[in-house]
Amino acid sequence: MASDQHLLTYFTTMDNQGGIIVRDAPKLDLDLYISNYQGRTRFERLLLIGQCSVPLCVDALKAAIAEAKSGKDIERYRDAWECIRIAAPNEPEAIFDQAWVTATEKANKAETHRLEAELKGYKNNLVKESIRIGHRDLGEHLESIGDLNAASETYIKMRPDASTQAHIQDVGKHIISIMLQKGDWAGVSGNVNKVLINMSSEQQNADQPYHKIVSGIALLGSGKFYEAAKCFLETGDSTVAQQYNNIINLNDIATYGGILALASMDRLELQSRVLDNSSFRTYLELEPHVRKAVTMFVNGRYSSCLEILESYRADYLLDIYLQKHVSALFSMIRSKCIIQYFVPFSCVTLDTMSAAFAKPGESFEAELVSMVKSGALNARINTIDRLLVAVSVNPRAAMQKKALDAAKNYEKEALERIRRMSLASAGLEVKGSHKASALGGSGSLPGVGDIWYDNSRTQPASGESVA
């Protein structure tokens, strides 16, 4: 019971900090899940699960501590320890390993010095390639100890010494990796384009999976779902994509591609770009439920589609890139389903619809109202007969109204134009200059200032003499 109490306080703090809390158990297996990744992303993912998932919290945090200790990044160890200290103070991992920290800190410092000294040596020798390698080694070291800003600066210094196309790409990839960790989505997109500019088409093809993956993530991060979906769907060769599991793995590509496409594409596009896409099929095979959800949507079985997605909501909420967008994406998919569901009908009973879509404990009608209000659903609600009625467009009436309006507007405008011409030719405009204000009577205001306002007060019907 004591551990529950700790978890409760832990998640209350998380909630207060604005974090997302996932109470349902996800379908994923933590060990299996994390074994699919390599590099620094492993820790990020573990920590995220540790911070968000109630059932997996302690396991994930323990794994995160182990992960941090296997590396050199002290900050990360501290972060994970801060979490587990509150969540599970009785675990052995909750005791701060000061010895490891001191030792690692010392080692890190020594290593940094060594690499810097080496780099200095290379610089004295003026061997371009050595300098580049020196910078790269230093950058990689700085990245691994968590000093991302310094690492990024060091990577940028590689650029002047890059002599071949491959080198420039290498620089780009290193910088993008840092930016991904920092969540600088605009920066990622910019750098991808920079790398792409000077590339031959052959190289571009070879590197396509990488580019599509990182730009997909960047676009997803900045909320451009349709473009992001296109990127993931065009990832291409899965064996190449496999190499980038320090960023995401193949399952993620399938999930992202499928969900984003569901949220942003219409039925026709889903069929042609997702289901009939031979290169993306290999990815979809890894995540059969995504494929099933898309198929369901295309076949018009919206409630099953939503059900499948809903059952994986916990999983998606524990994904570092998808987490923030899950609710937006789900509601987009949901309203799309509702709209699509309604398309073939002129009239549907509200009960049928709520049977298909209503979530337990939530009012489906309120959702419908907001959809109709925002114009997403071109229909009217009939609360008496409990129907949703499509708005029938009557082009004839619309045309007639348009014609009448046009005639009316024409008349109005013609009169107004003649009136204005007459006013102008009679010199009756309100003039702005001081001289004119004397001529124009008490009603004219001379440009700016506040005093005029009361002075030149002219009340209507003030008995001022005419003529």
Partner: protein, 486 residues
Amino acid sequence: MDKLAPTLLAVPVEGPVDNATYDAAVKNHVQKLSKILKDQSGDIISHGSNFLELLDPSVHSLSYLAILHTLLIPGPATSVSRDTLLEKLLIFLLTFDPIQCRYAGSHLHDLFLLAGGGDILPPSAAVEALATAILRLDPTGSMLTTAHVCLARLAYSTNNVEPALQAIDKNIVFFPGMANPTEPKYLCDISLPPPAYVARETGLTGTLKPPQVMEYDLLCGLMYCSRREWAKAYAAFERIVAFPTREGGVSKIMVEAYKKWVLVSLLLKGKLVDTPSYTGASASKFYGSLAKAYTSIAVLFVADDARELKAEVDKNTTTWLDDGNGGLVKEVLAAYQKWRVLGLEQIYSKISLSEIRQQTTSAETGAPLAKDDDVEMLLQNMIISGMLSGVIEKNDDGTTFLTFLSPSTNLSEQGVAQELASSAIRLKQLQPLFKATRDRLGTSKEYIKHVIKEEKRIEKSEPDPTLAFDAHVDDEDLMGGVIATG
């Protein structure tokens, strides 16, 4: 009296004659009259009443006018009983011969202003007579005169709006003092456009300044407001809001009108529309800063929170009262719930009254209506006023509900055809206005100068020097060498 009789009793023109004869005869008559007026005004004053009895104002309009003018101005003469005199004035205003009186010049105008002054005639009669007289003189009513302004002031200040409507409903497009007045050959020509004979030169109107022009529209707007004719009020205020300006000019009346325009816009359209594109740029700036209280009301008016609207209105009570807009603001509060109900039309096709009651709030109290019956009353009022197209029905189980009717079903084919036809007629009626404006502007000195200049320019620039230059370059191929070496 015998000396005066032949001139005064003479009918200047008898039977249909051509313009030239008419013009000469009436001018002659006017000359004789003015001589009498100058030399024998004493006789007129003493015998005036007899002549007024003898004369028919629709035939001897000029004589009648001359006598009335002498008797009434500078003050009502004592020789005639005041009641008779005023009765005669009214009869004259209602029946004078408009063509003859075109020659009367400022005398007629003086009588108009006298009637419009509201001192001697009872206001309701004065408004009616003046409005009729204005339209007798200029049946199109398209020319603004000093008499118009007078009429509007009198009608609004004495609350006699109804009889003034015939004149103020007309579209004003002409103003006194327009440049390039065409000297009419014959003043009696019935094909003359109004600005040709109602002019400062003929004495039938005085000079107007911008504030007076705007004041007229403002008063019209206020009168329409008092009749709750929001569309017309909106148009009237808009004319002031978008009044032509020069060199960044703004006027106090424009700002006042803008405030009212914002409120009327809420009443008429349920939201604040943008000012017309031709609104002066600096005027718009002033509106933004000086009418903030009003625009913030407009923002809240389209939102769902009635209480916030009410709070905002209550907060600025003094502003409304200072600006004289308390009544309009009250109307806006009352209209809030109606517009919310209309908003429901975008969501529901049928809805029960109790749901309407829950979903809409009255801005007057800041709370939902207490009973469904109140809602029914509100809806019924809206349906009767034509604001809402819908019907209130009752279900078998006793729920009362509102069915929104789609607007397209309201108009039958014949209805549309009729509307279109009447629209076409109205457009055709604009033709004379077009013609008058075109004639006036087309013959103005500036325009003719411009045309001549344009013609000269075209003559001079032929052949086009740039074309010639191109041909030249082609011949010598100047660029050829450049490309070869580059």
